[in-house]
Subunit: 201 residues, 2 copies
DNA sequence: TAAATTAGCTTACAACTGTAAGCTCAAAAT
DNA sequence: ATTTTGAGCTTACAGTTGTAAGCTAATTTA
């Protein structure tokens, strides 16, 4: 890669990072202006267009990148569970740790899931579907369940995890223990109930 | 009430209604400007301040009003269930009907739940807590469950219902049947699982 | 070596925002 | 009958936004 392409890539990253860094509980992606992001990245507003067609394109890049990051981290967590310990508990705790270290990655997914841009909602939905698919696959194999039931179960589990994640974002990490316990209990309900329904019919 | 107070109330309603009407899948409350709302309500921008301190105050009014409306509709639905039929199925179907007739009432709750204004998030959380409390109370009585387990269960149920509601918003009402069926299945998992966990210990 | 490409810049503009100041005039209070 | 109140208006201003036009200078290509 030439000197020029290298510098361009560096600036592009600066833009993505600038946008991620400006996210917070009080600041969503859609509330960021092109000029703010450019300012934070240290370039002129109009130079932004050398990298992205518009803010939407930047945002979609972030959603994709965020979804990938999150899945990688969760996969690492599942490896930890494989080497001993409850899958449910380990997964719940892993997720909370991810929140702690990458809050803004989760924030953009959470917020844009119910955002106003159809393209964003679709992108987030796709990322979440990846989550569900991985989990549904695991359930199908592990519990030998028909695939539609496995999907419904996986979706319920992911929904509950995301919801607790959203609540956890508003708390200091020291306050998250009871929330995690309640989440574990809710996940157990779903798993136990899915077993019950599968065995009865 | 005097003529004057009557007219004022009328304009206030016009503002609230204007704001509700401007909501859509592509337009969240926080993306509305004061001037837009005033325009739609047929008053001058500066006259807005005769009724609300700022847009946040209008938004909080809408959240309160929306939460109330939603709970009233759901209560009506529960009465229908009392006179025969599965509670789970009837509740799920009622919720979908509410979505159909009052999409924007649900939209503001859904969107501001993960929005950027702390006051909004708190207000929505409070409304949802009302939902959960009503349901937890029902479960405690009906199934004689300890109150913390009943709460966790109720929260899980409400979480799943809201999530399906969010997905349903993006669909035409004719496309919502399978989604409702999946929701019913997920709710059954939770109920069944909660039973299982309660009986085992 | 000469020409072409391009990342980033400066300047500029029209559109929109929230809101301050102050007027009008009908209803309410005295 | 007179005064006070207040909902709604017009005008005005400063700030921010996205983005168009065109320049510069350094890398890349021919």
């Amino acid at each position: 890669m030439g000197v020029r392409a290298q510098q361009k890539e560096k600036t592009r990253r600066a833009l993505v990072d600038a946008a991620f860094n400006q996210l917070s509980a009080e600041r969503s992606f859609s509330s960021l202006s092109l000029r703010e992001v450019a300012r934070e990245a240290g370039i002129a507003p109009t130079s932004f267009y050398r990298h992205f067609k518009d803010m939407d394109e930047l945002g979609l890049t972030m959603v994709d990148e965020g979804g990938l990051t999150l899945r990688q981290l969760m996969r690492k967590g599942r490896q930890r569970a494989a080497s001993g310990g409850s899958v449910i508990r380990t997964s719940a705790e892993t997720f909370m740790e991810v929140l702690d270290s990458n809050p803004n990655v989760f924030r953009i997914l959470l917020h844009e899931r119910s955002g106003t841009t159809p393209a964003f909602r679709a992108a987030v939905a796709r990322e979440i579907r990846h989550f569900i698919a991985e989990l549904a696959h695991y359930i199908e194999q592990q519990a030998d369940r028909p695939s539609d039931a496995a999907w419904a179960q996986a979706e319920a589990l992911v929904t509950l995890v995301f919801h607790s994640g959203a609540e956890a974002l508003d708390l200091k990490s020291s306050q998250r223990k009871p929330l995690t316990e309640r989440l574990v209990l809710q996940l157990r309900m779903v798993v136990k109930g899915a077993e019950g329904l599968a065995n009865r019919y």
